[in-house]
């Protein structure tokens, strides 16, 4: 019996996902068709990519609010380099991704060395880099990329959209890091007990640098995918994206206080958000109503988790 409860706690989020899928299949004829499902997957690909970085940061007990504006800046910088400087798209993309990785590293450095709260550090960073994006672009969209660049965001390999393939690769990398690499274990350790980690010989600062760099790296990759899909670098492209990413992670059961979470469930969180948006659109629910529903879903998911935890707290006391 206990086993089933554990199992439900572990995979319950997939039950929620399945329920949603069943619900929308009943409510709309166009939902459960391969084309639409690929559509959902493509829509969530950027979310899924960035969520891996956010999940790492949350595991560590931190948060990265600068993800959305990093995506914006990557959009603007890569677009600027390709259009205004005439760079090769691949090199422009790599430079932009390296830039966001460095921003992440800088976040990590400040958090580790100045011992400032991550929420403040990354919030300041959010504001700053949004400003930088405005300065570079003067607030205007940048477009006119080489033809080849749009392949990344809009092309297919076989029937599978390339962004989905990139997302799957990043998710697999995320799982590998958390489940098989030794430094992934350090994320859990530092997030669970920083002092014990330090006394176990873990270089806590270095772990923080690494985690925030990963967050920047994945945000950068998500940014490039987004740019290739929209074919236009815009200052609002990543606005508020960090909140969607955070929602997906929390839906996926990553503890916001650190030390607990798994990528396999974050995937479910990402898919729930995607299915919700898509299904509600198919049902002709207005965008504003969608916001209400998404907010409610987030609160319900966390409430469920908290109730579970509180129950546990009482029984183990």
């Amino acid at each position: 019996m206990n086993k089933y409860i554990e199992g439900f706690k572990r995979y319950g989020i997939y039950a929620v996902l399945a329920l949603l899928v069943v619900f929308f299949s009943i409510m709309s004829d166009t939902f459960l068709v391969p084309n639409n499902l690929f559509n959902v997957a493509r829509q969530v690909s950027m979310l899924g990519i960035a969520a891996v970085g956010m999940a790492f940061v949350l595991l560590l007990g931190g948060i990265d609010l600068s993800i959305g504006s990093q995506i914006t800046l990557v959009n603007i910088v890569a677009a600027y380099l390709m259009v205004n400087s005439g760079w090769n798209p691949i090199i422009a993309s790599i430079v932009a991704i390296l830039m966001s990785t460095t921003i992440g590293l800088f976040n990590g450095w400040i958090i580790a060395n100045l011992k400032m709260p991550p929420i403040i550090v990354t919030l300041s960073m959010l504001i700053m880099i949004e400003g930088v994006a405005y300065v570079i672009s003067k607030g205007l969209p940048i477009f006119g990329f080489p033809e080849s660049f749009s392949y990344l965001g809009q092309g297919y390999i076989g029937v599978i959209p390339i962004p989905v393939i990139i997302m799957i690769i990043i998710l697999l990398i995320g799982m590998y890091i958390l489940n098989y690499s030794y430094f992934g274990r350090y994320f859990y350790a530092v997030g669970g007990n920083e002092e014990a980690s330090n006394l176990s010989g873990i270089n806590v600062k270095r772990v923080k640098y690494l985690v925030y760099s990963f967050s920047g790296l994945f945000a950068g990759i998500a940014g490039i995918v987004m740019l290739s899909r929209t074919n236009s670098g815009q200052v609002l492209s990543g606005k508020g994206f960090e909140l969607d990413v955070l929602t997906a992670c929390v839906l996926g059961g990553v503890s916001v206080t650190g030390g607990y979470g798994r990528i396999s469930n974050v995937v479910a969180g990402v898919l729930i958000l995607g299915v919700l948006s898509n299904g509600l659109v198919l049902m002709n629910v207005s965008q504003f109503t969608q916001m209400i529903i998404k907010g409610a879903v987030l609160m319900l998911a966390v409430a469920f988790d908290s109730i579970q935890k509180n129950k546990k707290a009482v029984t183990t006391l």
């Binding site: 206990n2 098989y180 690499s181 669970g192 014990a196 009482v314």
Partner: protein, 500 residues
């Protein structure tokens, strides 16, 4: 026994958790006005039993009878109404409020719409005077030491007219002096008619304070005895279900000639000019009062705090550990003082806790060799007998003693030459303590050097080959085993020199 004399009766209480029977048909009768000791090893069910009285745990079956009134389960509010108060190990105080505000928290005395601080302070003062406690009710709780905070908790219970006070290991965090003050308070409370259930690991205080004592083991009540009609050995025997022949297991002298650790005039982190050496197979005890610099010295040796001056040699080689990693790689291990805060990764499984400090060694291309990890964890689980059905269990599910063993396992896995044990048996029960002692013996017999810090005088004397006494960060005295003497250690430990 006349039933009107019974203030609290727990009748046939059963509480089952998945896989464990935490309370198995426990019946406990507490007489009016007595101090009732409650003893048992960790995990015996004492805390769970207490929690059924306050509603924190709902029993599966059984009755809680207070003053003749029977309940199938309690709530915190009901417990308070019936005059029942618990002093837990973690206090329910608000640090940023004054003592008086804490005592009247949630029931503030009002004057019109505002809070009448004067009246609350006066009331608090009255209670403190009645029990001879010297606390200024206007002080902030966060400014008080743990000992005084506990007194505030007790005063709070008294102000609520509690007539049954349950104290869960109240002396555990206290210094000797504070504990003595607590004992006299318990006596005074009893004189004023309060009934007390006193949970403790410390046998001396059970015999000092209690009228009767109940022994629990494995979720069952073993017996309730008149304290005056039993003795320490008999109680311990009931607690562990077997007789402990000796508190400290014997070991053959196994000190070898090679020096493992050598410190020359080491200063830093509050310790000054420390020179000492430890040989292979030796247990060096580090004695001293709290704040004498013992833990601070351990941190320096382990690279957690920098050496400011002096040299440190390990196996003859000079090393300057800048981080714990440096020290670990050089062959030093530290089993820290505060297991929960500094040692355990609670949400991680036992295996992961054991391997955490050697993950880099058993990894290739960043990838942990999981079969090797399991093999190592299993090896130490067997070697030091960690009691657990499997290693994938989260470590928070283990008892205190087994958690401590897992932490030791973690450090053995790093194959150290020097093991620093900081309060290795704090908060673990008698049986587990004995096993830790045996383990220490095995380790030195294998040639490890051990630096053991302990605040329990008997433990340092029982386990060490040699004792160094610190005070104010300096070495004040050194005693070979033949000269071990409690008074000598105490007098060294209390050397205080005023320095300008």
């Amino acid at each position: 026994m006349n039933s009107s004399q019974i203030l609290l009766e727990l009748k046939n209480i059963v509480k089952t958790y998945p896989g464990v029977k935490a309370l198995d048909d426990v019946t406990l009768k507490v007489q009016k006005g007595e101090v009732h000791g409650l003893v048992g090893e960790n995990g015996a069910g004492k805390s769970t039993l207490i929690k059924t009285c306050t509603g924190a745990v709902i029993p599966d079956s059984g009755k809680i009878i207070i003053d003749g009134e029977a309940f199938s389960s309690m709530t915190p509010k009901l417990a308070e109404d019936k005059g029942l108060a618990v002093i837990y190990q973690e206090f329910n105080l608000v640090g940023e409020l004054s003592v008086a505000e804490n005592i009247f928290l949630g029931r503030a005395i009002r004057k019109g719409t505002s809070i009448d601080n004067k009246a609350m302070e006066a009331e608090s003062r009255k209670i403190f005077e009645q029990f001879n406690i010297d606390i200024d009710p206007r002080k902030l709780v966060s400014e008080l030491t743990v000992g005084y905070q506990q007194l505030v908790e007790i005063a709070k219970a008294i102000s609520q007219n509690a007539n049954l006070l349950i104290m869960d290991e109240p002396s555990a965090p206290l210094t000797k002096k504070e504990a003595d003050r607590l004992y006299s308070l318990v006596k005074k409370l009893q004189e004023s008619g309060v009934t007390i259930i006193y949970i403790s690991h410390r046998m001396e205080e059970i015999f000092k304070l209690s009228d009767r004592v109940t022994v629990m083991r494995d979720g069952m009540k073993v017996d309730t005895l008149k304290t005056s009609e039993t003795n320490m050995n008999a109680l311990v025997k009931l607690m562990v279900g077997r007789e402990l022949k000796e508190t400290y297991p014997k070991r053959e002298k196994c000190i070898r000639d090679d020096i493992v650790l050598e410190l020359e005039n080491v200063s830093g982190n509050g310790v000054k000019n420390i020179s000492l050496s430890i040989k292979k197979g030796e247990v060096l005890g580090l004695a001293g009062l709290i704040g004498a610099g013992r833990t601070e010295l351990a941190e320096v040796i382990f690279g957690a705090k920098p050496i400011v001056k002096g040299t440190m040699k390990l196996n003859g080689k000079v090393i300057v550990p800048k981080t714990p990693r440096d020290a670990i790689d050089a062959g030093v291990a530290l089993v820290p003082e505060d297991r929960k805060k500094q040692g355990l990764l609670l949400e991680v499984d036992i295996k992961g806790n054991i391997s955490i400090s050697i993950l880099n060694r058993i990894s290739k291309w960043f990838t942990v060799n999981k079969s090797k990890e399991k093999e190592i964890a299993n090896h130490y689980k067997e070697a030091i007998r960690i009691k657990t059905p499997n290693l994938e269990q989260k470590i928070k599910n283990l008892s205190g003693g087994n958690q401590q063993k897992a932490i030791i396992a973690k450090w053995l896995a790093s194959e150290p030459d020097l093991i620093i044990l900081d309060e290795p048996t704090r908060g673990i029960d008698v049986g587990a303590k004995y096993e830790i002692y045996k383990l220490i013996n095995t380790l030195v017999e294998e040639g490890k050097a051990i630096l053991m810090i302990s605040s329990e005088m008997e433990e340092v004397m029982g386990m060490s080959d040699r004792i160094i006494v610190l005070s104010e960060g300096k070495i004040r005295g050194e005693l070979p085993r033949e000269q071990f003497d409690q008074e000598a250690i105490m007098s060294y430990a209390s050397i205080i020199q005023m320095e300008e």
